[in-house]
């Protein structure tokens, strides 16, 4: 433990801050679904690409910026501080698809898909969950049947975030019908615009269609789009999930930390900060927010990049607990204003997805119990 920064992080922070101050879009991200949303995200991504800030965690060999973990943390801190857009239709492409292609794709796949992601041209979505396969992903049934040099896809995927904006999907299908659970799966790059792909948005509890259900009915995809080899889908999918390690989702977490500042301001303006309980609740949220941030620094300093993602699971658990308390306090501060839809009520409702998306927190606690602490199944 020391305060020494080997690679001049203060200068890096200044560079990031200066660039963001000059380039973060002035207008807010559209608040209604539609083509303008994708266009907004494309332009912001292109702007980051032109500024040399696309693919911050990707290695420079593949056109990324190749930042160290500490630099990535600082980038996210500055991103949130600058009020940059909090989400994007490119999230899956950068956090999952790109890193998976880099780890397991062949040269053709890498050279075709990666630059198009970096330049902000092709949003991706993830096709893992199915109506009958949620936390139990390995039970998935969506078929990919070999027909000549094509796979014919039949089945249903669900909870595909931003699928209606995506050009490609990282699709996990069962290519060997005899394969049981983790066996006989393949990870394939699916073009979302071919015939036989029917995308139906699902409206979430906040009134926004975050996710889609997608029906594949004989949609065809070249066998050459399989990444990591036919039948190796489970291990490829796990490398995708491993890409979620590191500070990839830190901006969302830090945004919640800064939301506590907004809550404090609001409580002060209404006089509610004089209420002992509200004051105490907000102070404890400040403390937890600080811990949330230092977890990222601790993980960056101590984890072996090739090790298990147990620390990431633990950080997500703490974040989810934190969010629950943020929501409770926000509702208390809102008081009767809660009956009217506002940015705060939208945040409260959206945050209810955090303990679910990416694997329910209940299963994640099992994982900590079993894989980290060694408790029996």
């Amino acid at each position: 433990m020391d305060l020494n920064d080997a690679d001049d992080l203060a200068a890096f922070r200044e560079e990031a801050r200066t660039w963001l101050a000059a380039n973060v879009p002035d207008e807010p991200r559209p608040t209604t679904p539609g083509p303008a949303l994708r266009q907004f995200d494309e332009e912001w991504q292109r702007c980051q690409y032109d500024g040399g800030w696309a693919g911050i965690s990707w290695s420079t060999e593949y056109g990324g910026r190749g930042l160290s973990l500490l630099q990535q943390i600082i980038w996210y801190e500055e991103l949130v501080r600058a009020g940059a857009p909090e989400t994007s239709v490119f999230n899956v492409a950068f956090a999952h698809a790109g890193p998976t292609l880099i780890a397991r794709g062949d040269e053709r796949q890498k050279s075709f898909y990666l630059p198009r992601i970096l330049r902000g041209e092709t949003p991706w979505c993830q096709g893992f969950s199915e109506p009958e396969s949620g936390s139990d992903l390995a039970s998935l049934r969506c078929r990919g049947t070999l027909d000549g040099d094509e796979l014919v896809i039949s089945g249903t995927k669900i909870w595909m975030t931003n699928a209606e904006y995506a050009d490609y999907c990282e699709l996990l299908v069962r290519t060997d019908p005899a394969g049981d659970r983790h066996h006989g799966l393949s990870w394939v790059v699916m073009d979302m615009h071919v015939p036989g792909v029917d995308i139906r948005p699902i409206v979430s509890i906040d009134g926004w269609p975050h996710n889609c259900e997608v029906f594949f009915d004989g949609a065809r995809v070249p066998v050459g789009n399989v990444v990591g080899g036919i039948g190796n889908g489970w291990s490829v999918a796990m490398s995708t999930l491993a890409a979620e390690r590191g500070p990839a989702f830190l901006d969302t977490r830090l945004s919640s930390v800064l939301f506590v500042d907004e809550m404090i301001d609001h409580a002060r303006s209404t006089g509610l900060l004089d209420d002992e309980k509200v004051y105490a609740d907000l102070a404890e949220l400040r403390a937890e927010g600080a811990a949330l941030r230092s977890m990222a620094y601790y993980q960056a300093a101590t984890s072996d990049p090739g090790s298990s993602s147990s620390e990431t699971v633990a950080a997500r658990n703490f974040f989810v607990q934190f969010l629950g308390r943020v929501s409770r306090t926000a509702l208390e501060i809102l008081g009767p204003d809660v009956v009217e839809t506002s940015a705060w009520t939208r945040r409260w409702l959206f945050d209810l997805s955090e303990p679910i998306a990416g694997g329910t927190i209940d299963i994640q606690r099992n994982i900590i119990g079993e894989r980290v602490l060694g408790l029996p199944r």
């Binding site: 102070a283 927010g289 620094y297 658990n317 099992n366 900590i368 980290v372």
Partner: protein
């Protein structure tokens, strides 16, 4: 900022852990407490001083090792884990207060173990006797007095001596707003050790205790409580390290970071130690089992600087949560 402990820091912790397990296990502390002897006895206290634990962060001129808060937290984490009895917290803070006040002689006497420093808590004395020094912290600094007379009180924690202060003579006053923050950091490190200890205790029991033909750790209700303890430890460990570094460097956010470490550690430790009793069922409720000692120590540490809500003030002081 690098929050990974260095080899030296890890070695300090490992040595402390081994020494405590060998020389001052909980069973021995229980015996000392049951015999109404000193907590710990003079010989043990002197050996802790010889190991350097009371002067890690003190300058050489005051009999210290010239290290920093980052090293202190590594040792205090082990003191928490091992439920070591004795006025470690107040002695380390008291030595620093004396050094800051220019009283190298007093600082050195504390560091070599010849003078103990008790903690003053709203008219009470924690871990002190007549002849000891008494540290009273506030938001601007601290006062060191000499205890002339105290009267024993019934302590909630068998391994903490509590008495009421009858008479003391003033010794010195020092202005240092970060002294309380140092206290927050050291207490947070002890509380972290407690979280880790009860986590390991619960995991060991849940893996071996069988009911309905299976280890109780296979039941999600128990497993999830254990997982929550692991999450709590993980949330605290980085924050304690960061706060230690900030306090040593006297950064503007030092008091904020230290209070954050203390509050998160206190909440996590009290909850984990409570859950640990539940995980153990009936035996966890028994005096002979150590589970209650961890809860009681965590509770004392969470109250050691006054009501926990006093630590909220530095958390609410900045208008923005700065990321620097």
């Amino acid at each position: 900022m690098n929050l990974a402990p260095s080899d030296l820091q890890n070695e300090l912790a490992a040595a402390a852990r081994q020494w405590l397990a060998r020389e001052l296990p909980v069973a021995r502390s229980r015996d000392l407490a049951a015999g109404h002897g000193e907590l710990p006895d003079a010989g043990t206290w002197t050996r802790c001083a010889e190991l350097g634990w009371l002067g890690l962060g003190l300058p050489d001129a005051c009999g210290g090792l010239g290290l920093g808060a980052a090293e202190e937290v590594m040792v205090f984490r082990e003191l928490g884990r091992g439920l070591a009895p004795g006025p470690f917290l107040a002695s380390v803070l008291g030595a620093r207060a004396a050094a800051t006040a220019g009283r190298a002689d007093i600082a050195a006497a504390i560091a070599d173990g010849s003078r103990r420093v008790a903690l003053s808590l709203s008219g009470r004395v924690l871990d002190g006797r007549a002849g000891d020094l008494l540290l009273t912290l506030d938001e601007n600094g601290a006062v060191l007095d000499e205890i002339v007379e105290d009267a024993p009180l019934a302590s909630v924690d068998p391994l903490t001596r509590v008495s009421s202060l009858v008479r003391a003579t003033p010794l010195l006053r020092v202005e240092d707003a970060l002294l309380l923050s140092r206290g927050h950091v050291l207490a947070a490190a002890q509380l972290l050790g407690i979280i880790e200890a009860v986590r390991d205790m619960s995991v060991a029991y849940a893996g071996s205790r069988t009911q309905f033909g299976r280890p109780i750790g296979s039941f999600q209700a128990v497993k999830h409580r254990c997982a929550d303890m692991a999450v709590s430890a993980y949330a605290v460990v980085g924050q304690v390290g960061q706060a230690a570094l900030y306090v040593d460097a006297r950064r503007p956010a030092a008091a904020f970071q230290a209070a954050a470490a203390y509050v998160v550690a206190a909440r996590g430790a009290v909850r984990s130690a409570t859950d640990n009793i539940q995980n153990h069922g009936g035996i966890g409720f028994s005096w002979e089992h150590d589970a209650h000692l961890y809860l009681k120590r965590a509770t004392v540490l969470a109250a050691a600087f006054g009501p926990l809500r006093q630590a909220h003030r530095p958390l609410m002081a900045p208008s923005r949560h700065e990321f620097e």
